[in-house]
Symmetry: C2
Subunit: 214 residues, 2 copies
């Protein structure tokens, strides 16, 4: 059984551990103590030990963490050991940027189809030989392909009905860039990226000189 | 004096209040009780009262909140009553999408210059008559223009030295899309948008069926 009591804060830190461990591997570092990792990441060593203990604690007293082993374990925990099949709704500027972003692909997040309702966009090449499809064919596509995650990059008025269509077809993961909250059943996971709100948060902190804590 | 003890969680919720209040205004709603707002936002009424009390508490017993007034007060708190002058480093796919995103402009976040080091991109039009400038001219531009926020949308290896240059020129707000942490002095505010990490978080929650709490 997976432990589902892990706090959101720990989950949010996992990708950051993964990134630092990947950098260490690239530098040829084979093992690292929680103290050294702490210095690099500007997180306390006890926090690191606590966080990684949630996942079985891969460290050994006096030896530290095996970088490559821990990297792959965290990848497995996050589900990165298997490819995620993705579709993208919206071939506007942001959608195009997401479709072209090769970093996602190298981590196993594969955007395999792009949909839009704009006749001018339909048929256009987005990435390699992947062309924008008519959103009218969304249900048919999902019926005939594995879709783990749908990214939504369309205006907020259109996002709500599109999310409903995705959920009805059984899509369980939604990466939402639309500037609205999506109401979905309990077994559907939504991850929001609200860019305007991120910018407003920065504006607030600038105005009030509040530093983000790690 | 501003109260700087406000928790990160409250600050993160402010843009969401702002969004809901804006939607209410568009619907012609003039006032709303914390109870009604609670139902819409799926947040408890007591949380709403608590949150808004941080900022002086704009509600009146038995009357509720004046939507437009509260909307403008939150805008002021977040610094949205004054335009933010922005520059963008990186005219790749993501940079182009950010430069073209009109939602930022309507909220007073004005991207006024775009820089890149790629000779093929320099001189290209990005938005209206705004053209990509050579990043060699970054310091000169900042010396002669107000720059409140710099958005960084370049590969991580380049992001660290560019952030150093920005900080040396006195830029105090950095909106960082590069997949790395930036070490900056205490008086510089960095807001990170790590898209890959957001996707990994979604992947983790999908694998372990963890719903995001509001």
């Amino acid at each position: 059984m997976e432990d589902i009591t892990i706090s959101k804060a720990v989950i949010r830190r996992l990708p950051r551990y993964y990134r630092y461990l990947g950098d260490l591997m690239n530098e040829g570092v084979e093992r690292i103590s929680s103290g050294e990792l702490s210095e690099r990441m500007h997180v306390t060593a006890s926090q690191i030990r606590q966080d990684l203990n949630h996942f079985g604690g891969f460290g050994q007293q006096g030896y530290g963490y095996k970088v490559e082993y821990l990297y792959h374990e965290i990848a497995k925990i996050m589900g990165l050991d298997m490819a995620s099949h993705m579709i993208l709704i919206g071939a506007g500027n942001l959608g195009q940027a997401l479709a072209k972003y090769t970093n996602f692909r190298t981590r196993g997040f594969l955007i395999e189809a792009v949909f839009d309702k704009d006749p001018e966009k339909i048929g256009q090449a987005v990435y390699g030989d992947m062309k924008v499809q008519d959103i009218a064919g969304l249900e048919e596509y999902i019926r005939t392909h594995q879709v783990d995650i749908a990214a939504i990059a369309i205006p907020k008025e259109q996002a709500v009905p599109v999310a409903d269509r995705l959920v009805k077809c059984g899509v369980r993961g939604i990466w939402n860039f639309a500037h609205t909250d999506l109401a979905v059943p309990d077994d559907v996971i939504v991850e929001n990226v609200h860019l305007s709100e991120s910018l407003m948060g920065l504006s607030y902190r600038l105005k009030n000189s509040i530093r983000e804590k790690k």
